[in-house]
C-alpha cells in the first residue's frame, strides 16, 4: 500500500507531489505516460509562464524544470513511460510499462492529474472532405516544437483558443502564412494578450462570429470556406469566403481527460467535464483527489500549480489522519456564471479562505461578483472586465459561509 499515487507528471502532478511532500508525506509515486516529466509544458516553448508562481516570465519547459528540480532532493518516486489503464474504487491503480509489464498498486490516496485533450474536428462536425492537413493546434505544436517539422505553409486557424493563437505566431515566425483566425463566438476564446501578440503583431485577421463551413481537397487540404454565423451560431448563407490553404488548425476547446475518473465511478460535473470536487480538491470517491486541467480547463499554469499544491496538501491531511468530515455546502451558479470549482465547500476546514474559480459565459464590463446564501449577499468583488476566455478567481472567507446550505455565485451589473 502506497501513501500517495499521482496519475500524471505534468504541471498538476508535479505540483501536487511537491505539495504533499511539503506537508510531510514521504511515500509518493508519480506515474507518467511519457518518458519525461512536464507534460504539455514541454511543447509550449513560448514565454508567459510563471509570473504568479515564480514572479518571472518563463517558457513552458523552464516552468516544468523548476518543479522537476524542486522534486530532485525529495523522496518522490517517478515511474515514467507508464500508462495507467484503470483506477478502481478501492484506489487500486492498474498500470502498464515496458519494464514492469502490467501491475496493480493500491494507495491510501490518489491524485488525478491527467490533464486534458483537444476537441477535434469530429466533435464540432465540420462538414466537407477529410484530407490530410487538418490538425489540432496541439498536434501541430508537437510536430513543430518537439520534432522540428512544419505541418503547413498556408494556414487558417479555427477557434481563438490560446494554443491556436500561439501556433499562429509560431508558424508565422517559421515562414508559414497564416491567413486568418476564425472564431464562432462574438468574442475570443483566448487570453487578450495572445490576440495582441500573436495575431495583431503579425497582421493576422481575426474573424469573430465566423466558422468553417466546408473543407476541400481529397488528399491534402486545398481550401476551406468560412461563413459568418448568426446569434445561434448558424452559418448565414451568402457570407461565404474561400481561403486557399493547405492547413486548418483547430483550437476549438479542451476537454478534461476523465476516462479513468469515470471508470472509478467518480461523479462528473457536465459543465466542466471534470470531477465534482470539494474545496480540498477531493472527488466524490474518498481519498481520490484531482487537480489541474483534469478538473477544469485553466488558462494559466500558475493556477494549475496552486490548485495542485492544495490537492497535494489535502491528500497529505488524509494520510496523516486530518480528515475534514464536515457538512458540505453546495456552490450553485446563476446568470452568466457557467460553473465553479470547487462545487462543494466543507465547513471548518483549515484554511481561512476558499479559493473559488469560475468562468462567465459572455463578455462583461464593470460588474460585481456576488456570492449569496439565498437571504443575503455574503461576499462581493468588483471587476472592470470579465471574459469567457479568462478564468476568474475569488477568495471567499470561510466566515462568510455561516450556516448556509448552499451558496450562489452570480455576476451583477
Amino acid at each position: 500500500m502506497r501513501d500517495l499515487i499521482i496519475v500524471g507528471g505534468g504541471p498538476a502532478g508535479l505540483a501536487a507531489a511537491y505539495g504533499a511532500y511539503e506537508k510531510g508525506v514521504k511515500d509518493i509515486l508519480i506515474l507518467e505516460r511519457e518518458d519525461t516529466l512536464g507534460g504539455i509544458l514541454n511543447q509550449c516553448i513560448h514565454n508567459g509562464f510563471g509570473l504568479h508562481r515564480f514572479k518571472e516570465e518563463l517558457s513552458g519547459p523552464e516552468y516544468a524544470q523548476r518543479y522537476i528540480d524542486m522534486l530532485k532532493d525529495t523522496t518522490v518516486d517517478i515511474l515514467s513511460g507508464t500508462t495507467v489503464l484503470e483506477l478502481r474504487e478501492d484506489r487500486t491503480v492498474c498500470a502498464l510499462n515496458s519494464r514492469q509489464g502490467y501491475f496493480e498498486l493500491q494507495a491510501k490516496t490518489v491524485i488525478l492529474a491527467m490533464g486534458c485533450r483537444e476537441r477535434t474536428r469530429g466533435a464540432i462536425s465540420i462538414p466537407g472532405s477529410r484530407p490530410a492537413g487538418v490538425f489540432t493546434a496541439g498536434a501541430a505544436q508537437k510536430y513543430l516544437n518537439m520534432e522540428g517539422y512544419l505541418c503547413g505553409k498556408r494556414v487558417v486557424v479555427l477557434g481563438s483558443g490560446d494554443i491556436g493563437l500561439i501556433m499562429a505566431r509560431r508558424m508565422t515566425l517559421e515562414g508559414a502564412k497564416v491567413l486568418a483566425c476564425v472564431e464562432v463566438m462574438p468574442y475570443s476564446g483566448g487570453l487578450t494578450r495572445n490576440i495582441v501578440q500573436c495575431l495583431e503583431d503579425f497582421g493576422i485577421p481575426l474573424y469573430l462570429s465566423h466558422t468553417v463551413t466546408d473543407v476541400r481537397g481529397d488528399r491534402r487540404l486545398t481550401g476551406v470556406t468560412v461563413s459568418k454565423v448568426d446569434e445561434n451560431r448558424n452559418p448565414i448563407p451568402g457570407t461565404e469566403m474561400d481561403f486557399d490553404c493547405d492547413t486548418l488548425l483547430l483550437s476549438v476547446g479542451l476537454i478534461p481527460e476523465n476516462e479513468l475518473t469515470r471508470g472509478a465511478g467518480i461523479e462528473i460535473d457536465p459543465r466542466t467535464n471534470g470531477p465534482l470536487v470539494y474545496d480540498n480538491m477531493e472527488t466524490t470517491l474518498e481519498g481520490v483527489f484531482a487537480c489541474g486541467n483534469v478538473v477544469h480547463v485553466h488558462d494559466l499554469v500558475d493556477y494549475v500549480s496552486e490548485e495542485a499544491a492544495r490537492a497535494g496538501a489535502s491528500a497529505a491531511n488524509r494520510i496523516l489522519g486530518k480528515i475534514p468530515e464536515h457538512r458540505a455546502v453546495h456552490i450553485k451558479t446563476d446568470g452568466a456564471v457557467s460553473y465553479t470549482v470547487p462545487q462543494y465547500i466543507r465547513e471548518n476546514a483549515e484554511e481561512k479562505t476558499v479559493s473559488l474559480s469560475f468562468r462567465v459565459r459572455k463578455i462583461l464590463d464593470d460588474v460585481k461578483i456576488q456570492v449569496s446564501d439565498g437571504q443575503r449577499t455574503v461576499f462581493t468583488a468588483k471587476r472592470t472586465h470579465m471574459a469567457p476566455g479568462e478564468m476568474e478567481k475569488i477568495q471567499l472567507p470561510r466566515e462568510a459561509i455561516g450556516d448556509a446550505r448552499d451558496l450562489t455565485v452570480s455576476v451583477e451589473k
Binding site: I45, E57, S59, G60, P61, L173, D201
Partner: protein, 113 residues
C-alpha cells in the same frame, strides 16, 4: 490618448497612454508603464523558437531571448538562429548566442536536454 492591452503578463491590463506626456494609466503594476511607453517608441517582445540539438532525446532544443527585443527583430532572430546548433548536454539558461543581432538580449536554452 492611445489605448492598448498590456501583454507583459496574462492579466492583459487595458492601458491608456498620453502620446505627449507618455503618462500611463490602467496598469496594475510598473511593468505596464514600461510596456506602454515601449509600444509607442519601439515595441518589444520575447522571441521563442528552437535550435537543433544532437545527442539528446529530442532533435530540437527550445530557446528564447533573455529579455524582450525589438519587435522588428523577431523574424530575423528566428532566421539567424538557423545558423546555430547545439550538442547535448545543454542546460536551462545556457547562452546560445550573446547579444543576438545587437538586440541587447542573449538567446538562452530553456530545457535540459
Amino acid at each position: 490618448m492611445k489605448e492598448m492591452i498590456c501583454v507583459t503578463c496574462p492579466k492583459g491590463c487595458r492601458l491608456k497612454i498620453d502620446e505627449q506626456t507618455l503618462k500611463v494609466s490602467g496598469n496594475s503594476c510598473p511593468r505596464g508603464t514600461v510596456y506602454a511607453q515601449n509600444e509607442l517608441t519601439d515595441p518589444k517582445r520575447v522571441v521563442t523558437t528552437t535550435v537543433p540539438v544532437s545527442g539528446a532525446i529530442l532533435p530540437r532544443c527550445p530557446v528564447r531571448t533573455s529579455a524582450p527585443v525589438s519587435k522588428k527583430l523577431m523574424i530575423k532572430i528566428v532566421q539567424e538562429l538557423k545558423k546555430y546548433s547545439l550538442t547535448s548536454p545543454v542546460k536551462v539558461g545556457q547562452v546560445v548566442v550573446e547579444n543576438i543581432l545587437g538586440s541587447g538580449a542573449d538567446v538562452i536554452v530553456t530545457r535540459n536536454l
